[in-house]
Symmetry: C2
Subunit: 334 residues, 2 copies
């Protein structure tokens, strides 16, 4: 590979001059600049960023650390982040944790070895201490979601409690009183928060909670199907179901289909996330939209600002706006 030295020889100047024309770091006469530029073209020169990194201790590499890139939610967030990274001349390396603590810790080591400049991550187990450790090494961190209690780091998230409260309130305003919750893992942070929002809405409108209509399982289609089947078999079935994500909601819809309860005539369904499938189901699913691409974008905006400002950057908590998307699976009653 051709180096700065080769092009210095070719152009008959010193390597210092070459470096400066490349980076525009000091004035170089028009004539020399042009000779250098010509040499670079002739020799098809590409600066060695690895070498540059070593000298400047800025690798221009950032990491995107998530449970699983094959999860459509994260792949879309990733896309938003990558676009920001490309704009800022950073490359992004993607790591999957599978929500395993060991893997999460191991990735943080790799991140240090490669002298990565920043990370955006969605932690399942990693806690404040590990993150502080990372940031002590000069690595900027921004969190996806608010699993970690801190003001020290940038965070970008959606207000799960409020979003769920809004969704369920809307159902109530449409005349529903017999409301059930179909939840994923209630132990997960989003599961817990969405359940909280559901309960808040009932309380706000003075509707008593029916314990047997508070159902949970895992965040999957099958779980949604099974939970709904159980709910709809009751002597007193609910008239509306709030599902804690769209996967669950789709399962609920499928169960309703199979049991011949008509949606939305006999049952209203509301999901959460606004994945593309919700628009393709029949009836089309009402849901609360969570901005995925923007989440990644925003994470990037914060990270690259922090990288530019360093100490001057003060960590922020960005709450992205959710949005009710009313489609065909919900209807006015009473």
């Amino acid at each position: 590979m051709t180096t700065i030295k080769d092009i210095a020889n070719q152009a008959g100047v010193s390597i210092a001059t070459v470096s400066h024309v490349i980076n525009g770091t000091r004035f170089v006469s028009k004539e020399t600049s042009e000779r250098v530029a010509a040499a670079m073209r002739q020799l098809d020169y590409q600066p060695n960023i690895i070498a540059k990194s070593l000298k400047t201790s800025r690798s221009h590499i950032v990491a995107f650390i998530i449970p699983d890139i094959a999860n459509p939610y994260f792949s879309e967030v990733c896309r938003g982040f990558q676009d920001m990274a490309a704009q800022n001349d950073f490359i992004v390396v993607v790591f999957n944790t599978d929500r395993e603590l060991a893997r999460e810790k191991q990735i943080l080591e790799v991140v240090r070895q490669y002298r990565v400049n920043g990370v955006v991550l969605n932690p399942a187990h990693i806690a404040l201490d590990d993150l502080l450790e990372v940031s002590k090494n000069g690595v900027e961190v921004v969190l996806l979601g608010n699993q970690v209690e801190t003001e020290r780091f940038d965070m970008v998230m959606v207000d799960n409690v409020k979003a769920s409260l809004d969704a369920v309130s809307r159902l109530i305003e449409m005349g529903h009183r017999r409301l059930a919750l179909v939840n994923g893992a209630p132990g997960s942070s989003s599961g817990a928060r969405r359940q909280q929002g559901f309960l808040d809405a009932l309380e706000l409108h003075g509707i008593p909670v029916q314990k047997e209509w508070l159902s949970s399982g895992s965040f999957t289609f099958e779980s949604g199907y099974q939970q709904a089947a159980r709910l709809l078999r009751m002597k007193e079935p609910p008239g509306a179901i709030f599902a804690a994500n769209d996967m669950l909601a789709l399962g609920v819809l499928s169960a309703a289909n199979d049991m011949e309860v008509r949606v939305p005539e006999q049952l209203s369904i509301m999901g959460f996330d606004n994945i593309p499938e919700t628009e393709r189901s029949r009836p089309r699913l009402s849901t609360v939209d969570q901005p995925k691409y923007e989440t990644g974008q925003e994470a990037g905006r914060l990270l690259f600002e922090a990288l530019r400002m360093r100490e001057a950057h003060v960590p922020q908590r960005v709450v992205l706006k959710h949005r009710l998307v009313m489609r065909e699976s919900t209807r006015q009653v009473g």
Copy 2:
């Protein structure tokens, strides 16, 4: 950050010794090794891979270059590749081309600047010359699909012609004679190949081609819906539709629903890809499975083998097995 020098001081040895205990590159007495190891632990040392790269000219970075990580097909392939990379102690940086030539070329430059050791890519426009250029710089390349005519590079793909032929033949064996094709972009390599397979199957079984049943548009749900609507409105509608991917097939199914043609009683539908949604639709979609995770894995296997063997590695063309998945959207007739 602590360096090899710090730990040499702490342990009272030379930096050479430290380097050798880290890499196991020469014998070091048990006693010294232990002193070094202790120092490393105490100072929480992580080797600087950037510096190592500079010296060894092996960055241990590979690139994954695809149209869009948010496309579920590619995100799953990516996952397979990343898992192989992690096993081989490489990190992977992901680039999106959006199928734009300018972007594809630009990414190849970045790849050179970071002295990336290998790339796996799905080229839309990039041709042999650019690839040869890249590989001249010592970068191993493996291609996803066979858009580029060459024996010089590793390739992993599925036999689109044969897979389509198999699918359509199955339909014919089930008694179907009135067969239509709903295609995406017929100009794309997979669009063209899947159409070829469709035609081959008809020819093989001596079924004349009905020009008006050869439809195309783009690889989307909406296009599938519209194409099917047109087909089903004909005085002589087809009795079976082969869709060139599952997105199209789902659109076809939706159109059939809306027009009250019963699937599979009045219309059989066969898709291509086997995306998760095919299992969640009602009826469940028959389709031809394309192994996504394995595609990524295999690409990784080839790439890391090539990286290990260098010249000794001979480029291969790996054709992954497709598989007919018969579900509820197809039925025997006649």
